[in-house]
């Protein structure tokens, strides 16, 4: 890994920088070990709590209506239930979202697309499975086209049962996710 991976400089300058030394060590190496150390300090200290406070209060979800729960997701984001109160607003590009809401049946045809969307989201990210279909296949448990266990493909933090769950349940699930983020008990240990 060179400097040019982090800061956009021409490769020639990058090679030049790699020749520099500080305290008898290459500059690049010192840079990366220092940042690594900083990361470690952040990981254990109260700084992490501040980070998680920010993360928990600003959960942007991916606008992705998929089934009956998708309609309730509209309502959840719109005026009557107003997820914006919790700092939770819909975004349309996976690059700018923090939580993926699996709002319905996941079909064989859709699974690769969905996985791509999930992989495009930057860390830290969370996943909420909403409705019976997303949790276990629900009424479509014996369908030839439905993926039964979304939990096998996505690290799901919160399951919200219901067919479809009411928007109030969406809010409860969101608050549970916030609590998980705060206590650092989410599936991927952020």
């Amino acid at each position: 890994m060179g400097i040019s991976d982090v800061i956009p400089v021409p490769v020639a300058i990058d090679e030049e920088i790699e020749k520099w030394t500080i305290f008898g060590q290459p500059v690049a190496e010192v840079w990366f070990t220092t940042t690594e150390k900083i990361h470690q300090i952040i990981q254990m200290g109260p700084i992490k709590n501040i980070f998680n406070w920010g993360r928990k209060n600003s959960v942007y979800f991916l606008m992705q209506p998929m089934g009956c729960c998708g309609v309730e997701m509209f309502v959840f984001g719109a005026a009557p239930y107003d997820s914006d109160r919790f700092g939770c607003i819909p975004r349309n590009t996976p690059r700018q979202t923090d939580v993926m809401i699996i709002s319905g049946y996941l079909t064989r045809k859709y699974l690769p697309v969905f996985k791509n969307l999930w992989e495009q989201m930057p860390e830290p990210k969370w996943c909420i499975a909403i409705g019976e279909c997303a949790i276990s296949g629900g009424p479509f448990y014996d369908s030839y086209n439905i993926v039964q266990n979304t939990g096998d493909y996505f690290p799901i933090d919160v399951f919200i049962p219901g067919c479809p769950p009411r928007p109030e349940q969406f809010l409860e699930g969101l608050m549970n996710l916030q609590e998980k983020i705060k206590q650092r008990k989410d599936r991927r240990d952020y």
Partner: protein
């Protein structure tokens, strides 16, 4: 205290270049802090006022019942997000786009007077660089954002982004001309291109002296800011997030932030040019009388911002061809008409 001042004056005499540099850095830090905190408040206001128009509450969970710390939470989250540079992007351009956007905003901020101090019956404008052509300079520097938009759109290697970038540039070109002509009409009336002098010369607000120019300037400003009904470059339902589709984390945060920086600065510019700037009756209370010009400016700016947010809540989005049509076929001729009017009235009263 006197000792410190003496040391500073000595230092300034010995090393004028370094002294100027230090003062400049301090000034830039203060300026960017003021502008960015202002922009944060604008974002917060945007969310809250929008919520109000939509019969919602808006953020109200952090920072008291008004959700004033919501932007803090958003900023912390964006800062600690993974820094994704997608494969296939033009890396240099991709990385520099948000930085150029921020630099452009700061260039604008440098020449904008943020108010005036009223001391001893005289107004002392608060402006970092009080240059002679500041009105034109500010108007031109506001469109640096469009270059950043195009850089972001072009470098992202994404079809939505490139369309967003193209739309942004097409829109900017169509509306920059009428906007410039409006600024010229104001300058013709004020006999100056200096924003401070323009404000001081407004015995009658230019919004009343040239209403046509005022309306055209508002429309062109909303276009420049890229807000509904002119938000084609990031029309969410058509091209996802437009030019910023591939941006994430703090890079997106910066781009997003600059829009609101521009929003704030553009509103201030509108107030200065057309709404009499800091003009207003002086409040006859000891300390308040000193800052009363700033209070007036702030109140006018808040009303302008509120109005532009109201537009977003109540208008449909135009199509890109209609936008350019409107710009070239209506705004430009009308702004020239307004220029003629300004010359007539200006020379009559002069």
């Amino acid at each position: 205290m006197d000792g410190i001042i003496e040391i500073i004056t000595q230092f300034a005499a010995q090393e004028p270049a370094i002294f100027a540099l230090i003062i400049g850095i301090i000034g830039a830090a203060v300026l960017s802090a003021v502008v960015n905190v202002g922009a944060m408040l604008v974002i917060w206001a945007d969310r809250k006022v929008m919520s109000d128009f939509c019969n919602r509450f808006g953020p109200n969970r952090v920072g008291g019942r008004w959700g004033i710390l919501q932007l803090g939470a958003d900023a912390i989250k964006l800062f600690t997000k993974e820094d994704v540079i997608p494969a296939g992007v033009d890396k240099g351009v991709y990385v520099w786009a948000p930085i150029i956007a921020s630099a452009g905003t700061m260039l604008v901020a440098a020449a904008i007077p943020f108010g005036a101090l009223h001391i001893g019956g005289k107004n002392y404008p608060l402006v970092v660089a009080n240059m002679d052509i500041s009105a034109f300079y500010v108007e031109a520097a506001l469109s640096i954002m469009s270059i950043a938009v195009f850089m972001a759109g072009y470098s992202s290697n994404n079809k939505y982004s490139i369309l967003g970038g193209f739309r942004g540039v097409a829109r900017m070109i169509a509306y920059e001309v009428p906007m410039g002509v409006c600024v010229i009409s104001v300058a013709v009336m004020a006999h100056s291109l200096n924003l401070v002098e323009i404000v001081e010369s407004q015995t009658v607000w230019y919004a009343f002296a040239q209403p046509l120019g005022f309306i055209i300037f508002i429309i062109a400003l909303v276009t420049d800011l890229g807000r509904v009904p002119f938000d084609q470059s990031e029309a969410e339902e058509e091209i996802i997030c437009g030019y910023s589709t591939e941006y994430s984390g703090i890079r997106w945060g910066l781009l997003y932030f600059q829009e609101y920086n521009n929003f704030l600065l553009g509103s201030i510019l509108l107030t200065l040019l057309f709404l009499g700037g800091w003009h207003g009756p002086i409040i006859p209370i000891p300390i308040l009388d000193m800052i009363s010009p700033m209070i007036w400016l702030l109140m006018k700016v808040i009303i302008v911002i509120w109005f532009i947010i109201l537009i977003r809540a109540s208008l449909f989005r135009l199509r890109i061809d209609q936008v350019t049509d409107l710009g070239w076929k209506w705004m430009l001729p009308l702004s020239l008409l307004n220029l003629g009017w300004a010359v007539l009235i200006g020379s009559y009263f002069a």
